[in-house]
């Protein structure tokens, strides 16, 4: 470690010469939404059902204000595969790129190039580094998501017992942020009888998540609950528990889509789970991008814009816009949703 001291480029010496971000133009809150805006949605992975719902809602929204939207993207969720798509989107001179980043940093260079060429960049679902986009549409406050997961499961378990987390990939940014908040929440005194025994990774793969659930229950016989803040993970965990002898003994909580979870809510494996409305996420993203591209906003804290049927939104710190509190689904309301 001290080797670094002698010479050469190190973390410390490099930090000084990092370049500043793109200069911002001034906003005109009264400007009308431009017609014929071209929006491109770049999801983590093209065949992820959840992302598909988000993007289709966004494309619908673009039609509302006379623009066009499209979804392009890689078929694998690797950190880098989005980059080549950004490059082509720049060549195609889109007005705005909406991206759910697989890796906050890997997409930075091309996104910055895009912004330099006056293409607006909006991150949604999973953020990029802050200086590589103008806005981030956060589905819900990360802190709120993380802490509420712990609160909910604690209530159901009577603030006692061992719990585990079943996450997506080891590198998923949003997952890791939420997990940090969960760990922080667990430090509070009211959770002194609860213990987080393990964070397992199901890689957003049905089969892997399924097997990880199995392993958790085997390795920790006293496990009382599993939090899975990912749609694939929670469905796999619920499916395993519903078909094993653990049914009724282990609580499953997390983020899932109603269609995936309906069976397990109805058969009692899962009492309740949460998710924001993915359609609203896409809808809001489209309007935010349009507002940017039309000059209504620039991405500075405090600016306001109208997002169609969702009403008015205000830009928060670091260009973040929060969609709103997630919906909690249970037996009583699950049949009202279809996504």
């Amino acid at each position: 470690v001290t080797l670094a001291g002698c010479s050469g480029t190190t973390k410390d010496s490099a930090a000084k010469d990092s370049t500043g971000s793109v200069a911002k133009a001034s906003a005109n809150p009264d400007a009308a939404l431009k017609k014929d805006l071209k929006l491109a949605f770049l999801p983590k992975q093209i065949n992820n059902p959840y992302e598909k719902i988000v993007d289709e809602a966004g494309i619908e929204a673009a039609k509302e204000f006379g623009g066009t939207g499209k979804e392009v993207g890689p078929s694998d969720a690797s950190a880098s595969s989005q980059v080549s798509y950004i490059n082509t989107l720049i060549q195609q001179r889109q007005d705005a790129i909406l991206i759910a980043a697989n890796d906050p940093n890997a997409v930075c260079t091309p996104l910055k190039t895009a912004m330099k060429q006056d293409i607006k960049v909006v991150a949604y679902d999973s953020d990029t580094a802050k200086d590589c986009r103008q806005l981030f549409i956060n589905q819900a406050s990360s802190e709120e998501i993380g802490r509420s997961q712990v609160r909910n499961i604690a209530e159901q378990l009577g603030h006692k017992g061992e719990i585990a987390i079943l996450s997506a990939t080891q590198n998923a940014t949003n997952q890791n942020t939420w997990i940090e908040f969960m760990k922080d929440e667990l430090k509070k005194p009211e959770y002194k009888d609860m213990k987080l025994v393990k964070v397992a990774y199901g890689d957003d793969d049905d089969q892997k998540s399924f097997q990880e659930t199995q392993g958790l229950l085997k390795a920790y016989p006293n496990l009382k609950g599993i939090i899975s803040p990912t749609t694939v993970g929670i469905a796999a965990a619920a499916r395993y528990i519903s078909s094993s002898s653990y049914k009724g003994k282990v609580v499953v909580k997390g983020l899932g889509t109603p269609n995936q979870m309906r069976k397990y809510v109805k058969d009692g494996t899962v009492e309740q789970f949460a998710l924001w409305n993915p359609k609203d996420l896409g809808y809001l993203g489209a309007y935010a991008a349009a507002a940017l591209a039309s000059g209504q906003i620039t991405g500075t804290e405090g600016e306001k814009f109208k997002a169609g049927r969702l009403g008015e939104y205000t830009i928060g710190k670091d260009g973040e816009i929060i969609l709103g509190p997630p919906t909690v689904f249970d037996k009583s309301n699950i049949d009202q949703f279809d996504f």
């Binding site: 470690v1 080797l3 670094a4 002698c6 010479s7 050469g8 480029t9 190190t10 973390k11 410390d12 010496s13 490099a14 930090a15 010469d17 990092s18 370049t19 093209i46 065949n47 499209k70 392009v72 993207g73 890689p74 078929s75 694998d76 690797s78 950190a79 880098s80 980059v83 080549s84 798509y85 490059n87 082509t88 720049i90 060549q91 195609q92 001179r93 890796d103 906050p104 940093n105 890997a106 997409v107 930075c108 260079t109 091309p110 190039t113 580094a129 990939t169 080891q170 590198n171 940014t173 890791n176």
Partner: protein, 329 residues
């Protein structure tokens, strides 16, 4: 070999396809022939292209290295964690290369000394290296690499006077070296002999084991170098970097007409294969062809790469037979 057969050899066909893709792209698609687009498209395949060079040599010698993408990830993770620990970048690079060489040495040792098939060995080290990568870096992602180096790897900076990014330029130089080694040097002759008939090569006094070992070491080293390029290019060191890239590399090499059974192929073909995959992808993406279709196109091209020469062979055979049955004047 008759001139016609030579013309219809698959590596020439791939070359022709490459030119065709370029011409069609230029003619039909706005922005395709843009230098910015070309630099970006070329730079996008920099790592695949770099790794494809030693892979071509390996496949010609009848071996394969499936662990390259994992080695790329390991090198990336290592670079990230060392950088995070405050090491100088100039020191990190040689350390990563050394680890790459050692990884290659392990592969080579298992293949030559223990006598295991390289396919089996490198499936094992594929898991091992990737696993070590996640041990080294965990869930962390290290991002703040020095601008001066990062610039070097991205397409924003090109070789002065051209649109060629540095990693691609480096690839071009290495490709020439590899071509000379494979087709002009005794070493290359040995590789073909080993790939076609290992026993005979050994009995001709060729140091089969040493050569194989060297190839695996080179492959590991180049893969770990590609890991550094990757890390800088994306400005992000993660354990899962380059996941699944091995199949892309192998597909590109095979597409270029290198025979997987060893002993046949040209480096030019392999390079053309790599470039074809890259440019075609870029062209299709620019035309909003969905990634599903792109995947299918890659597959169909691969199948065509082996089927076409076969068909040509059958057809020429037929012609010969017909010619033979005709009475001699």
């Amino acid at each position: 070999m008759s001139p016609l057969a030579k013309l219809l050899r698959w590596d020439s066909v791939v070359g022709a396809l490459l030119v065709a893709v370029f011409l069609v792209g230029t003619g039909t698609t706005d922005g395709f022939a843009d230098t910015a687009n070309l630099s970006a498209a070329l730079n996008d395949i920099a790592e695949v292209a770099l790794i494809a060079l030693p892979m071509t040599l390996l496949v010609v010698a009848g071996q394969v290295d499936l662990s390259v993408a994992s080695m790329l990830g390991l090198s990336s993770a290592l670079a990230g964690s060392l950088w995070d620990a405050g090491w100088a970048f100039e020191l990190i690079v040689p350390v990563c290369l050394l680890v790459g060489a050692l990884g290659g040495l392990l592969n080579g040792w298992l293949v030559t000394r223990v006598g295991l098939p390289s396919l089996a060995v490198t499936i094992g080290t594929l898991a091992l290296f990737r696993g070590l990568a996640s041990v080294v870096l965990g869930t962390k992602a290290v991002a703040d690499f020095p601008e001066s180096y990062a610039q070097w790897a991205t397409y924003t900076q090109t070789v002065p006077g051209t649109f060629i990014p540095y990693p691609v330029a480096l690839f071009a130089v290495l490709a020439v070296v590899a071509a000379v080694v494979l087709h002009g040097a005794g070493f290359g002759r040995s590789l073909f002999a080993i790939g076609a008939q290992e026993d005979a090569a050994y009995f001709a006094g060729i140091r089969v084991k040493r050569i194989k070992l060297a190839l695996f070491v080179v492959s590991g080293t180049v893969a770990s170098f590609a890991g550094i390029v990757y890390t800088l290019r994306y400005g992000s060191a993660r354990a899962d970097n380059g996941f699944g890239l091995e199949l892309v590399v192998i597909a590109s090499v095979l597409l270029g007409g290198i025979d997987f059974d060893g002993g046949k192929g040209t480096l030019g073909g392999a390079v053309a294969g790599v470039l074809l995959v890259g440019l075609l992808r870029n062209l299709l993406t620019l035309n909003d062809v969905s990634s599903e279709i792109q995947v299918v196109v890659t597959g169909v091209l691969l199948i065509a790469s082996v089927l076409t020469p076969r068909l040509v062979a059958v057809l020429t055979e037929r012609r010969h037979r017909r010619a033979a049955t005709e009475p001699v004047p």
